[in-house]
Assembly symmetry: C2
Homo-oligomer: 286 residues x 2
């Protein structure tokens, strides 16, 4: 998955990467904290030289502390001089991965197509939240990546109720509000299933154009109440209708959540999609 970058002129570059979120205080650079972006910026400066503008880095899915990413996308803007520093060893992804700690892996580093913006060109984000319930075989190797829930959950009921949230809705009830930011999102798919047999873990898969802050984890918290027999589909409908942050359920812990995929349109639509998204969501989370 390593793409050579035989270039001498600057421009926008696209990177595909993954990280184990356990030991990071989230994606975004924060003073004094170990974050994915800080680690990445540190090692990028080994290759491209010091930067004052963080290479104009922008991320598709700004994950919280503890959240993992199997396939995160970012872009950076490099000057001619920075690109020239790549030199003859053009496997930038491999070089960065070698410099980075084991909990970050860079898959590709390649010139971005015209009009590409990692955040604003994206048309959808897909996340999976993993739960080991009373019925799941629990294993220490799983504890970092799945929520442990003591009682068995009714997966069929969770999946049925979840469909009440589908479509373009105001997810205010499931979002940490930010001033001036819309909480209207298009939930394109939501699926709850038990994977790998009767003792397998539960996966909640969520795909939306974008997610507001805490949205995945709030929805999963409400769905767990359904699976545990304490909510029915009507509760979700009522929550959605109220569009106000409620306290009847928990926002679940971050470590069960993994960003799985970012989707982009065909190259000819990258720029127009970016304009559209920037217009409606520039103040929001992703």
């Amino acid at each position: 998955m390593k793409t050579p970058v035989n270039l001498t002129v600057g421009g926008r570059f696209r990177m595909l990467l993954a990280y184990d979120g356990t030991d990071f205080a989230g994606w975004a650079k924060q003073p004094g904290l170990r974050t994915v972006q800080s680690e990445l910026l540190k090692e990028m400066q080994v290759i491209f030289g010091k930067t004052k503008d963080d290479f104009g880095m922008r991320v598709a899915g700004r994950t919280d502390a503890g959240v993992h990413a199997d396939a995160q996308v970012i872009h950076v803007d490099l000057s001619d001089a920075q690109v020239k520093r790549i030199g003859r060893s053009t496997d930038v992804a491999g070089r960065l991965t070698a410099l980075l700690p084991d909990d970050i892996h860079i898959y590709t580093f390649e010139r971005a197509p015209e009009g590409f913006d990692a955040r604003f060109s994206a048309t959808s984000r897909r996340y999976i939240y993993r739960i080991a319930d009373g019925q799941s075989h629990k294993a220490p190797k799983l504890a970092r990546y799945a929520l442990y829930f003591a009682r068995p959950l009714d997966v069929a009921k969770m999946d049925e109720a979840a469909q009440a949230l589908l479509g373009l809705n105001d997810f205010g009830a499931f979002c940490k509000q930010r001033d001036g930011a819309t909480t209207i999102r298009d939930l394109k798919k939501i699926k709850v299933s038990r994977t790998g047999g009767a003792n397998g873990i539960i996966e909640v898969e969520l795909t939306a154009d974008a997610f507001c802050h805490n949205m995945c984890r709030s929805i999963v918290g409400a769905l767990i109440k359904v699976g545990d027999g304490k909510f029915v589909r009507g509760n979700l409908t009522a929550l959605l209708k109220s569009a106000k942050r409620a306290h009847g359920y928990k926002t679940v812990e971050p470590h069960g959540l993994t960003l799985m995929e970012i989707t982009y349109p065909v190259n000819s639509k990258l720029a127009s999609q970016a304009l559209l998204a920037k217009d409606t969501r520039s103040l929001d989370d992703n």
Copy 2:
């Protein structure tokens, strides 16, 4: 997987457990170090009271620092007074798991059948060593559980050469020698395969009556040389024949190794199997 233990009399108990070896200095209790046994003894004393003899604990597979266990077996000998402390909440496995850190999980705690010895009654141990080679999709979540090897390995050649090691042999070439300990072991099965498609990881599965110290990791080190085109089957045969620790290959890192299974005979043979094994291997590793 929780077995109630409604008992008031002492005796031998058998436990099935798992751990993520990453943050442990191995199984065995060692002063000042975080080991699986130390953590377990600490929490067992919460339930059973202080002990001076470590509850006579004995383990089936004494794993090294960094080695994981998906299914480890141990036994403990408890007095009447200790057993009485279990009280009415008989889910000892669940109580211990709740007390223990997330990287240890106790599946069962049950009275052992007559003649059972976790270590000496065992007839075989099965381990899997995982390798992410140049062809594998590498992921940060995998880095704790698989060895990273930069070049692609020829799995078919590894599997073919590995069969040269099968059977009852002196594995002196693949063992860290200990005075007075035999290095004769019966390697019952060895299989090298790539799992989960062309970009999957490589698994080396090894089953033997018992393994001497470093045996799995030494064999895997030699097999990697085969897969990398630097050894052929004949090199393994020659090593085996020499029965002397050689330096032509690496003992691979521990984090790729997981203890998968311990096998015991039918209950009527537990005691005789224990006598047999104790006779030949009391000074050895497992």
